[in-house]
Amino acid sequence: MAAGLVPDETRALVGQVLSEPVTATITAKESQRYALAADDLNPLYFDEEAAKGAGYRTLVVPPLFLGWALGPFRPITELRTDGLYKGGGRRVNLNVKRVMFGGEEWDFLAPIYAGDTITAETRLKALDEKDGSSGPFVLQSTETSYTNQHGETVARSRGLSIAR
């Protein structure tokens, strides 16, 4: 059976906040820079009249930019040799050799507009121990909620990873 991959002290983190909430104001320029880098020329992100014509208040932010707009923004000295930032926040310690990114799930609940101030908070959602054909593994999911300056939750994302 799949026992022992999740230490008790890690199990106790389920439902807990993994890092302090972060807040940032998303400008039209950085939102458009993301859209251009993704080769996404949707007029909703660039043309205010087009956005209004489609029922929006003003320029829309590509919703997946939420995952990047709030950082991390950290000093060069906090880069590892692979280029990634050293871990911030609370570590989810598991008795495993490697963790693979598994996928993402997003609920888009309200439009995100250029100029919105968004607060993100990430919690450890679940640690499910499973038995696979190549041995036991843990399905780990974290959930981030994104709230705008009016207190409205505009999106929720779940990050899935497989630890074995």
Binding site: A37, G71, G103
Partner: protein, 146 residues
Amino acid sequence: MSAQLYIDDVAIGTEMPAVTRNASRAQLFLFSAATNNPHRIHYDREYAAEEGHPDVLVHGPLQGAWLHQYVAGWAGPLGRVAGLRWQNRGRAYPERDHVFRGRVTSVGEGGLVELEITEEDDTGQVLVPATATVRLPSKPTGEASA
């Protein structure tokens, strides 16, 4: 941009037109910069080899962005993407074609449509299986037929 799609235009089994995406190495650089992602597997081929990759990799999140564009483009400006769910199962490389295909799996109340989507590489391997939920508008009453 294509004409607006309405809820009356779709049914279970309706196919989404396929879309092909191909990222240049310069685009990978721009996407790394725009997302503040310094991971070397996306721009340093020698380093990518150290992690066991034969070339630099297209970011999983860029494929996520392509997926969102595929769904939002199909739904049109009056459509709303309510949810996206995807798994990253294989490596995607620059300068290679990636084909998105999808079909309608359910049509519900209030214009809600469920989609099943795949992103395949140029060998036919599914790199990303995905599902999406979109809300399509009803045709305005009294609109002259096209």
